[in-house]
Symmetry: C2
Subunit: 438 residues, 2 copies
C-alpha cells in the first residue's frame, strides 16, 4: 500500500521532535498503523537543520505554510506553528481542502475549536489534538473514549510543567517564587515572558478542552477562572506542609448542581494524594467518573519528544482510519496481524535483575565471608548488607543483602551452593529488585 | 436511528455492573456513542435480580448462552461468564455469526486470544477486551493507540488488587501474609481459593496481554514466569522499608537485546516511586516509551462498576464504529456535536471550596476575635489556625487559617472587610483547598 503523505507546518521544538519520532520509529509505526507515513511537504520560516534527526526523509521543505495546505499530494496536515494566526487560517484551509488535521495548539483549540470542529464535520475530516493537553499523556483519548461509560464528576490536573517545577523547587529547597522562576528561565523550562505559564493561561487553555470533553459543553475559554502562582510565598509552602498539604497549581473542572466549574488556581491538596507527589515538570490528571471511580494519568506534559508522541499517536489514528476497514481499525494486538514479531520470550534464567536476599545463618566467624565468597565466584556483588545480633539463646541470625544486577542463572547457582552450607538454615528468601527508572 | 442491540452473557458481579452502568448513564452514553444501546437478550444460570439496577430494561433474560450468540437480533455480544469453556466456544460462535464481541475474560484472551483474533479478522468483527487488564483503567487503549508512536521499552504494573491489598496491609500494620489473606477473604477481596491471585496467575494473564500489545508478539501465556507472594514475610516487608524500598507484586514486560522478558513476581521498588505508593486494591501500570518517557495509569483494577466502565467503553467504541462515518467516529468533544449541552459555566463567586488564608495582623488582644467574628458573620467557620509569636521589635504577626467550605462570594465579602481593618496589614493571601477525594 502506498505511504500516507503528510504535510508539516513548523520545524521548531515539537516539529523537530515529530520528524525524529517518525524517522526513528518508522518501521514500528508502520507495523502499527498498517501503512508507511511520509512527510511529503514541510514548511518553516527557519529551523536548526543540525538538531533534527530524519530531516532528509522529508520530501520537500519550503517556507510557505499555505503551499503545504494547498498541496494536493498532502492527505494529513500537522500544525505545529502555534499561536492563533495564521494557525487558524491554515487549519481551516486544510480542512476545506479535505485534509485531516493534527495539532498540538491548545490556544487555537480552546479559542477556535468550536468553529474548527464544525467546519471539519462539514468536510468529513478529523482534527486530532491529543498533544494540546498534557503533552505525551493520552488524556484526551482516555476521557473521550476510555471513560465513555461514565458520568464524569470532576477532573483535576497538574497541566503546566513550568508552574509545577517552580512549586516543587519552592517546596524542596524552601526558595522564593522569583528566585526559582529565574532558574527555570535559565534552564529553559520557562519562557522569557513567563506569563502564559505562571499566570495559568496555558493551563486554562488545556482545562477548557478537558472540561468540554468531560461534560459535553462547547469550548468556553472566556468563562474559565484563572489565577496564577506568582503570589505564593515560601512561607505559604511551609505553612501548607505543616498543615499536611502541598500547594499545586491545578486546573479543576467540576460538575455541580448549578452548573460547571472551570478554574485554574493554586490549590492546597492533602500530601498523601498521588497528585500531591507529582513533582518537577511532570503532569498528571485525575478524573473522577461515577462508575470507574478515580483514575489518574501521569507523564511528561511538554518537551519535543513527549509532545511528538501525542502528535504521532493522532496521526496513527488517522492513518488507521484511512487504511483499514472500520472493524479492524485498531489491530487487536496493537500491531497489524501480519506484522507480529517472533522475538523470543526469554527463560527466567536469562533475565537480569538485582536481588534482595534473606537467609538464616549460624552466628559464627567466617560464615558471612563464605557466603560473600560464593556470591563473588558467581559474579554477584553485594550492594548493602544487614546483619542482626542474635537474641538470647539463638544460634542463627537473619542476614539480609541487596545485590547488584546479575543473571538469574548465576543467582540460582549461587543460592543452591549457599543453601547447601551447614551454616545456613532453611530456604533463602529471594526477592527481585527493580529501580523502574528511565 | 435505531438502538444497537446487545447480547449479554452472565449476570454476575461484572454483568450486573454492566447492566447498571448502561441503565444509569443511558442518556449520556447515547450522547457520546451517537445511538442508544439496548440489551436485547441476556443469559444467566442464576442471578440476584434485586441487586441489579436496570434489569427491567433487558429485552429477554434466559438461561441459554448459546441462544444469545445465535440470536439474529443481537449485533454485539458481551461475554462476562469468565473461564475457558464454554466462554471460548460462545465467543467463537458469536464471531462466526458476524457479531462483535466485548469481553472482560483475561484468561480466555491470554490463552485463546491468538485463535479468537484470527477468526475475528476473517469475519470482519471487533473483539474488545479493555476490561481484561487493570479493570477500569483504559490501559489497553493507552498502549495500543495513545502510545502508538513509541518504541516501548518496558511495562511494569500492579495488576492484581488482591495481592496489592495484602502487601499494603502487611506493610501498614506489620502483619503476616496468612493473617492478612484471611482478612481479605472475609472482606471479599480474595476468593476462597486465592491461588489465582496470590500465586500471580491472574497477573500473568494480564501481563501476557500487555506484553503482546507493547512489543507486537503473539500471546504466549505459557512463557510467562510467575511467582506468587505467599513466601513474603512481615520481616521482608520491614527490611525492605529500612533499605528504602517497598515490596509490590509486579508484572514486568521488558524488551532486552536477547528477547522479551515476561515475568510476574514480588519486587522491591524504591519508596519514592509513584508505583510504590499505589496501595490497597488499586492498580497502576507504568509504561516506558522511547519518545514519551515514563507514563503511569492508575485506578480501580476490579469491582463491578469499574470493570463495567471498561466493558461499556469497548461497547461505545463498537457502536461508534457501527454508527458514524470513520472520520467522525470519535466526536471531537467526546459527545456528538448535536448533543452538546448548554449547562452554564459558573462564575467563580458561585464556586464553593475550603480556603487557606494568610494575613499579617497586629499582635494585640482582640484582633483575632474581630477577624473570627467577621468570618463568622459571613458563614465561614475555621478548621485550623496557626499564629506565631512576634519577633523582637515586630508589631505584626503572620496568622494562618484553614476554613471549612464556603462560597467564594462570601469569602470575598469577608476578606474585603478584614483587609479594611486597621489591625490587618497588606493583602490577604488566599489559596483554595481541595481534598480531591471520592
Amino acid at each position: 500500500m502506498k505511504p500516507v503523505k503528510i504535510g508539516l507546518l513548523g520545524l521548531g521544538t515539537v516539529g523537530g521532535g515529530t520528524v525524529s519520532v517518525l524517522a526513528n520509529n518508522a518501521a514500528e509505526i508502520a507495523r502499527r498503523a498498517g501503512r508507511e507515513i511520509q512527510i511529503a511537504h514541510a514548511a518553516a520560516r527557519a529551523y536548526d537543520a543540525g538538531a533534527i534527526d530524519g530531516l532528509e526523509r522529508i520530501g520537500r521543505i519550503g517556507d510557505d505554510a499555505f503551499a503545504v495546505v494547498e498541496d494536493p499530494e498532502v492527505e494529513v496536515v500537522i500544525e505545529l506553528i502555534g499561536g492563533y494566526s495564521p494557525a487558524r487560517e491554515l487549519v481551516l484551509r486544510a480542512i476545506e481542502n479535505g485534509k485531516h488535521v493534527v495539532t498540538a495548539n491548545k490556544a487555537l483549540i480552546a479559542l477556535h475549536g468550536n468553529e474548527i470542529f464544525a467546519v471539519a464535520r462539514e468536510h468529513g475530516v478529523t482534527v486530532g489534538f491529543e498533544a494540546a493537553v498534557a503533552g505525551g499523556i493520552p488524556i484526551i483519548k482516555a476521557v473521550r473514549e476510555g471513560l465513555a461509560a461514565n458520568h464524569i464528576e470532576w477532573v483535576a490536573g497538574i497541566i503546566n510543567g513550568t508552574g509545577n517545577f517552580i512549586l516543587s523547587e519552592m517546596r524542596d529547597k524552601g526558595r522564593d517564587f522569583a528566585d526559582v522562576l529565574a532558574e527555570a528561565q535559565a534552564l529553559g523550562y520557562a519562557e522569557a515572558d513567563p506569563t502564559f505559564d505562571v499566570e495559568g493561561i496555558d493551563a486554562a487553555h488545556k482545562l477548557t478542552i478537558l472540561g468540554s470533553l468531560a461534560f459535553g459543553i462547547p469550548l468556553q475559554f472566556e468563562r474559565c477562572f484563572t489565577e496564577g502562582i506568582s503570589k505564593i510565598g515560601a512561607l505559604d509552602v511551609a505553612y501548607a506542609a505543616e498543615l499536611g498539604y502541598r500547594i499545586k497549581h491545578l486546573g479543576i473542572a467540576r460538575r455541580g448542581e448549578q452548573g460547571i466549574e472551570l478554574r485554574v488556581h493554586p490549590t492546597l491538596i492533602p500530601e498523601r494524594r498521588l497528585l500531591a507527589n507529582v513533582d518537577g515538570v511532570m503532569n498528571a490528571v485525575l478524573v473522577k467518573g461515577d462508575a470507574v471511580g478515580p483514575t489518574l494519568y501521569y507523564g511528561a506534559g511538554a518537551g519535543a519528544l513527549p509532545t511528538a508522541s501525542a502528535v504521532v499517536a493522532d496521526l496513527v489514528d488517522v492513518v488507521r482510519t484511512l487504511t483499514t476497514d472500520p472493524s479492524n481499525r485498531v489491530p487487536h494486538l496493537a500491531f497489524q496481524p501480519d506484522e507480529l514479531a517472533d522475538t523470543p520470550v526469554l527463560e527466567m534464567e536469562a533475565v537480569e535483575t538485582a536481588y534482595y536476599l534473606r537467609l538464616s545463618a549460624l552466628d559464627q566467624p567466617g560464615v558471612m565471608a563464605r557466603i560473600a565468597s560464593i556470591l563473588g565466584e558467581h559474579g554477584i556483588s553485594i550492594e548493602a548488607i544487614k546483619q542482626q545480633e542474635p537474641g538470647e539463646g539463638e544460634t542463627h541470625v537473619p542476614l539480609v543483602m541487596l545485590t547488584h544486577r546479575v543473571r538469574e542463572r548465576q543467582m540460582n547457582a549461587a543460592l543452591a551452593q549457599i543453601e547447601a552450607l551447614d551454616s545456613v538454615q532453611g530456604e533463602i528468601i529471594r526477592i527481585r529488585v527493580e529501580m523502574l527508572s528511565g
